[in-house]
Symmetry: C3
Subunit: 135 residues, 3 copies
C-alpha cells in the first residue's frame, strides 16, 4: 500500500509533526506486522524522528543545524542561494523506516515523525508513505 | 518476521555492538534475500553502522558528537536537561536497513551494527528487528 | 530482487551519482509499487540523496564534512589514519530507502542518489540494491 500526503509549510526552517497522518495510513492498510517508509520528496527537506513534548526540541534542531551549517557561505549559493538547505537535507536524510507492530507504528512514547522544512515556506510538500507486510 | 530485543546500557553516552543478536534473528528467519530493519525505540538513542576493529572508532563517535552537540546549551534543557541527547538521536537516526544476501546480512568486513546510547545508563532499551523477504 | 553494482572512485572524498544505475535495476524488476534499498558496503562510505543540477552541492557536501569532521585528530588515526572517513560514513549512513511509484523511483526533480567516498580512491566499491514489492 502506498499513499502520498501533502503539507504546507509556513517558515523557512521548521519541523512539522506528521505522526497522526502516517498512523492513519498504517491503520487503514490493515497490515499487522511490517514496516512503513516515510519519504520526503524535495532536495531541501527531510524526515526526522524526534520528541514532541513541547516545541523546545524542534527549536533546538533548527538552532543546531543553523550553527553547524550556516547560510551564505556555500558554492551552491551562487545558483539559488540555498546551499545550506541542501546540506541540512542531505545530513538529516529524506526518509525514515518505522516498524509496524500489532497494526500500529512501533514508536516509543516520545518518538514522533517530523517533516523538516529547510527552504520554506512552501504551499505544497509531498511525502510518500509506503507500507510493506513482513508476514 | 519481527522480534524485539533488549539491551542494558552502562554509560551516559556509548556504542553497543548488537551485530550478533541481529545476525541470529536473520538466520532464524530462514529468509535468503531481503532486508532487515533495525529500529531503536527511544528518542535519546540511535542505530549506527560503524567499524569494530577496536574501541577507537566508537570513542571517536562519542567525542565527535560531544563536540558538535555540546550539553547544557539547549532550550529543551529547561525540561529535563537532556537536549543534547535528543539532538544526537535525531542526527544519527533511530534505524538502519541492511540487505540480506544468501541468508546473511550484507555487511562488509568492517561494518557492525551499534546501538547508540545518548542518555544512559538504562536498564532496558528496546530494539525492534523486522525482516522482509524480497523473493 | 537484488543486485550488486560496482563503482570505481578516483578521489579521497567525492560524491558519485548512481541514480541511473539504480533506475535501470528498478525498471528491470517490473515492480510497480514498493521500495528500493540502496546499501553501500564499506565502513568509510555512505549513500546520500542530494541535488545534481551541477557540481556545486557535491563540493559543498565535502567542504561541510571536512569542516565538521577534520582529519588527523581521532583516536582511530593511530590504527590506519582514516578516523575522519569512518565518522563521515557513520553520520551520512550506508543506505537510503526510496519508494517505487508506478514502476519508477519516487525521487523529486532535484533528488539524485549519490555514493559518498570518504577513503578513496578505490578500484571497487560494492553497492547492494534490494527491491521489495508492497503489492
Amino acid at each position: 500500500m502506498q499513499q502520498v500526503i501533502q503539507i504546507t509549510t509556513d517558515r523557512q526552517n521548521g519541523l512539522y509533526d506528521i505522526t497522526k497522518k502516517i498512523e492513519a495510513i498504517v491503520s487503514k492498510s490493515n497490515i499487522k506486522t511490517g514496516i512503513v517508509n516515510v519519504y520526503a520528496q524535495g532536495a531541501t527537506a527531510g524526515i526526522m524522528i524526534q520528541e514532541n513534548w513541547d516545541q523546545s526540541v524542534q527549536n533546538d534542531v533548527i538552532t543546531l543545524l543553523r550553527k553547524l551549517i550556516p547560510s551564505g557561505i556555500w558554492e551552491h549559493d551562487a545558483q539559488d542561494n540555498n546551499g545550506d538547505a541542501h546540506l541540512k537535507a542531505g545530513i538529516v536524510g529524506p526518509s525514515e523506516t518505522i516498524p509496524i507492530i500489532h497494526g500500529k507504528m512501533g514508536l516509543s512514547t516520545w518518538q514522533n515523525i517530523f517533516f523538516c522544512e529547510f527552504d520554506g515556506p512552501r504551499d505544497k510538500r509531498d511525502i510518500v508513505v509506503t507500507i510493506l507486510d513482513s508476514k
